[in-house]
């Protein structure tokens, strides 16, 4: 039996829920995870949780129950959920506890994220002169990548089409309407080459996962456990191209996603060829394309033909972002990384309904990336 298993999963629908705070969405997710695992809050011995814009996660104990458990708040940008999961994973692996919860939630206002440059170690000039936008970074990394490896606008449209088609099959997604090629390709340009429907939008949602040791798995009578075989986080090395960088080194190096990916494969003792289904950070269409290569699923440039051939569709040889990804679910920063793992658990249990990957997928892979250059990867197996 694996050293750490996921025994319960819960999710509050993503999108817009005006009647509920972000934290309440986290509580709904946590209670759903407990019900899924068939255990009570009193059985949870350690908690890690966070949000970027919706309050202190440990306040949730007012609603979940004041049991005195240690609750660590996590704030790690887009890797907040991944970091909470890593915390819970390490708490169990180190023998601190038998059952831990990782929870993430958020609630953002509409429109691109408003950035305070000093939060990122930058002078006010950076924001005042119109440079403090994550969307610019994604567009510029992508434009360079397209130039070097021959990726075309066609590939960008195909990623977005797939996301909305998958979202249409996901009752918990925000955008549940498939879009045509033309609707995406002709939507307004925001940051060349990226158009409106190629970007995700800040939104709301909550996810919770319950992790357990082998002893606790044996005690619980819940669902079939999913093994968490690897969880790794890396920050940037000198020479990688990251968001909010007033300058870059001439000497180029691998991204933190490459480093986290390699560490996770090593922990799990497997390689990218063993993965049956993957969730990759798709802040925008191009991010999914570049992350396919950074996570080892293809060589740079191969994405163009893979997308044309439908390789990453649910029916393809490597289904990517089967729940619609960030494009169809929106981006509640604290929740996105855990949403990916929630979706993998559904897929590995065979519970993904209309969007179930065929042929009994056994190994899943998740990857998040966020400012200022942090990536988290997990590998799961049934």
């Amino acid at each position: 039996m694996s050293e750490v298993s996921i025994i319960g999963i819960g999710l509050h629908p993503f999108g817009r829920t005006p009647q509920r705070s972000g934290m309440e969405q986290g509580v709904v997710a946590a209670q759903a995870a407990l019900a899924d695992a068939g255990i009570s809050w009193k059985d949870v011995q350690y908690a890690f949780g966070g949000s970027s814009a919706a309050g202190n996660a440990d306040t949730m104990v007012n609603r979940l129950g004041l049991t005195g458990l240690p609750f660590i708040n996590v704030a790690n940008g887009c890797a907040t959920g991944g970091s909470a999961l890593l915390g819970a994973y390490m708490a169990i692996r180190s023998g601190q506890c038998d059952v831990a919860i990782a929870v993430g939630f958020d609630k953002h206002e509409a429109g691109a994220f408003a950035v305070n440059p000093s939060d990122w170690g930058l002078g006010n000039w950076y924001g005042e002169s119109g440079l403090a936008l994550t969307t610019q970074f994604f567009a510029m990394k992508l434009k360079r990548y397209m130039h070097e490896y021959g990726i075309t606008n066609d590939a960008l449209v195909r990623v977005a089409m797939k996301a909305f088609a998958n979202g249409a099959m996901n009752p918990n997604a925000w955008r549940r309407k498939a879009m045509t090629y033309e609707e995406i390709a002709e939507s307004p340009m925001l940051n060349d080459p990226l158009r409106k429907y190629m970007f995700c939008s800040p939104a709301e949602g909550g996810v919770a996962l319950l992790l357990a040791s082998p002893a606790a798995v044996r005690r619980s009578g819940g669902r079939k456990p999913i093994a968490l075989r690897a969880a790794a986080i890396r920050t940037r090395n000198f020479g990688s191209f990251e968001v909010f960088s007033p300058s870059l080194a001439l000497q180029r190096t691998q991204s933190p996603s490459v480093m986290a990916s390699r560490a996770a494969y090593e922990m799990a003792g497997i390689g990218p060829e063993d993965i049956d289904v993957a969730q990759l950070q798709d802040t925008e269409s191009g991010a999914e394309i570049m992350h396919m290569a950074e996570n080892g699923f293809c060589r740079d440039g191969e994405q163009e033909s893979m997308l044309r051939d439908g390789a990453t569709l649910i029916t393809g040889r490597l289904p990517v972002n089967t729940d619609g990804g960030c494009l169809a679910n929106g981006e509640p920063i604290g929740a996105s990384g855990l949403r990916q793992v929630y979706e993998l658990c559904l897929q590995l249990r065979g519970d993904a309904g209309a969007r179930q990957v065929p042929n009994d997928p056994r190994i899943g892979y998740s990857h998040v990336y966020g400012a200022p250059g942090v990536s988290a990867v997990t590998i799961l197996s049934s």
Partner: protein, 114 residues
Amino acid sequence: MNFPRQASCPRCCGSDITARPLGSVGRLWTWTTQEFAPKSPPYAVTRSPEGFAPFLVGYIELPGEVIVESRIVAPRSQKLAIDMPMQLTFAPLFTDAEGIEVIGFAFAPAPEDT
């Protein structure tokens, strides 16, 4: 080498830093357009009767030095292309709440022989 200058080196972790001026010519490494108004703050207020005017942003590779992020000024008719020669310039970047035009560094396309 790092821009703007800082008190320690992100490469070697050392703190023995020397300030030096950067070159003023280079090549366009990547670029994009900003076609929607950034949120303000942090974006300074731009006062224009026509509303928000889209602008250009890019990274310019300064040979042997560093790749610098910068606003780019170019006529709308000019097509930008990766590797095209660029030259340092100064340009009005925004008009603040008091109506004062703020000038900052920027790069502009340069003739091929510079």
